[in-house]
């Protein structure tokens, strides 16, 4: 199992980077770019829900905030793409931090309902604040990105860009989860009282989780806006939040590579079943239920050895046994 894990990740990364050499189809690129955007969103929600145990159903609102912010600063203020991308992340992270304070008073399902409310408030504001957001029609003509004087127009360029962005976000969350802040988050999810007893400032860590989670959602939103060149409130409704939630569940709570895989599967999967027309949503829904029932730890759950016997085998291969 250890071997599977060590080889799978580099192999997958290599394949993802080599795809432009193999594929010319614009439609396939579009699906993969969307998978990349959702991978970022899923990794962000995974930090909040999978690691810190905070049930948020408002992730699409942060995604939308980033998209609208980026669209507005480029359209109205003429900002170039890169500063707009970064500023969207920071702005959304800031809003996430502000939202965190009232949200921290809510637990479990009540937090889910509260964040769901936030999602609706965002969507309704986007519909009604017409002078700023363009109302139900949304914003059109969002400029395509330009990197160091090189315009990004072809699908391949967008594809390579989202890979870089995904890798950066992956690195960010991987570093957080691999050091003491990540452990503190898991500690909070497992037992808040015990986490406090080892000195974890629960409020601070929960707010930070909100900030980093919404920061990444803001980046995804900004990229989406400049990729599609058109955004409307429909892109950021509750259904999106639920989709991202399903991706986290599919990938496994707290499992970072799983989040990426979960997003890719749920974006590409329905496309693969397109020939079945309306029935594809039926298949989508029922397969999701099956996964949650049969693989409660997500599609990669099998990778984490659980039995002491498997553990012992692992220890032997890693040479760290002891008595």
């Amino acid at each position: 199992m250890r071997q599977a894990r060590t080889f799978l990740a580099p192999a997958a990364a290599l394949l993802i980077c080599a795809l432009p050499l193999l594929i010319q189809d614009q439609y396939v690129y579009h699906v993969m770019i969307m998978a990349g955007i959702y991978a970022i969103l899923t990794m962000g929600l995974n930090l909040l829900l999978g690691c810190a145990g905070m049930f948020s159903l408002g992730h699409a609102a942060f995604y939308g905030l980033g998209a609208y912010f980026s669209a507005l600063v480029t359209l109205r203020l003429g900002w170039p793409f890169l500063p707009a991308l970064l500023a969207s992340g920071l702005f959304t992270g800031l809003i996430g931090g502000v939202i965190a304070f009232p949200a921290l008073r809510l637990k479990g399902i009540f937090l889910a309902i509260g964040t769901m409310g936030f999602n609706e408030i965002f969507r309704l504001t986007a519909i009604n604040a017409e002078s700023l957001t363009g109302g139900p029609a949304g914003l059109t003509g969002i400029p395509r990105p330009e990197l160091f004087g090189y315009p990004i127009e072809r699908s391949v360029d967008f594809y390579l860009m989202i890979i870089v962005l995904c890798a950066l976000v992956y690195f960010m969350f991987n570093r957080i989860l691999g050091s003491s802040p990540g452990r503190a988050l898991i500690a909070i999810r497992d037992d808040e009282t015990a986490a406090q007893s080892v000195g974890v400032n629960i409020t601070r860590f929960k707010v930070a989780a909100f900030v980093f989670s919404s920061f990444s959602a803001g980046l995804a939103g900004s990229f989406f806006a400049h990729y599609m060149a058109y955004i409307s409130p429909d892109n950021f409704g509750l259904a999106e939040s639920f989709s991202i939630l399903a991706m986290v569940a599919l990938g496994g709570m707290g499992n970072l590579p799983g989040s990426v895989a979960g997003a890719a599967l749920l974006v590409a999967g329905p496309e693969a079943f397109r020939f079945m027309q309306e029935y594809r949503l039926l298949i989508y829904g029922s397969s999701l239920i099956l996964v949650v029932l049969l693989l409660p730890e997500g599609i990669f759950g099998w990778m984490r050895p659980k039995t002491p016997a498997a553990k012992a085998g692992l220890q032997r291969t890693a040479g760290t046994g002891g008595g």
């Binding site: 957080i176 802040p181 500690a187 974890v200």
Partner: protein, 254 residues
């Protein structure tokens, strides 16, 4: 010298006075027993000491500083660590990760350090891993390092919880009924461990119903009943104190 001085601490839940102006003095380096019948307020006092409850009034002087208003996660930094009556390990973590989490107060890696200074974070992580391994070795738990904490026996889980508390390098360790649910052999191991911790210069406050264990390890004992302190002294005095016998120990004094 008194490391911990509890002065007139009062805690009220609704209309019930759980702690009625309790005083307690714990000297540096001693094992201080805390006993009393169920509902006497032992666990309440414990939670007040660890910051899980804030007292309505009174002072908690720790090394000369009043901590009565500080919160639970801050107490760890001042040097107070605790274990729980119902073991509270991090369920999804391995034994080693539980201990590593205990080092939280020592670590300086924040969110941004972890991202922008990965080398520094990595070095610290290596240090924490090494320290955790040392602690596991001291408690003869190395074999369990990668085991999910919940798979261990009750006695071993207790020791992991104590190890996690020790990881914070406390000056004062609060043990809440550590012998509860342990068999005789495990209690023997626990007693040895408690003496070893004191030997390392750590002061201990021990709540315990196992009188044989408590009377044998405690240097001094405080007795609570109905939220009040009814006695404080060395175990021999406590055993002969008629009020303590009537309220708690019962029977003929040994």
């Amino acid at each position: 010298m008194a490391l911990l001085e509890v002065r007139a601490v009062r805690k009220v839940f609704g209309g019930i006075v759980a702690l009625r102006d309790v005083d307690m003095t714990v000297s540096e380096g001693e094992i201080h027993g805390l006993i009393g019948p169920n509902g006497a307020g032992k666990t309440t006092l414990f939670n007040v000491l660890s910051g899980n409850y804030l007292p309505a009034s009174g002072q908690i002087l720790f090394a000369g500083r009043d901590l009565a208003a500080s919160r639970a996660h801050e107490r760890v930094k001042y040097g107070i660590a605790r274990t729980f009556q119902n073991i509270r390990l991090f369920k999804s973590m391995s034994v080693a990760d539980n201990i590593k989490t205990g080092f939280h107060g020592m670590t300086r890696t924040g969110w941004l350090t972890a991202i922008f200074m990965p080398v520094r974070a990595f070095k610290e992580e290596r240090l924490v891993t090494a320290e955790a391994a040392k602690l596991l070795e001291r408690l003869n738990l190395t074999w369990a390092a990668d085991e999910p904490a919940v798979n261990l026996s009750y006695g071993d889980q207790r020791r992991v919880e104590i190890a996690r508390a020790l990881a914070a390098r406390p000056r004062l360790l609060l043990l809440d009924e550590p012998a509860a649910g342990l068999n005789e052999t495990e209690v023997g191991v626990l007693e040895h461990l408690i003496r070893g911790i004191r030997g390392a210069g750590i002061t201990i406050v021990l709540v315990e119903h196992d009188m044989r264990l408590l009377m044998s390890v405690a240097d001094r004992v405080t007795v609570l009943a109905h939220g009040q302190r009814i006695a404080q002294g060395i175990p021999e005095e406590i055993r002969l104190n008629t009020r303590v016998i009537n309220e708690y120990l019962g029977g003929v004094p040994a």
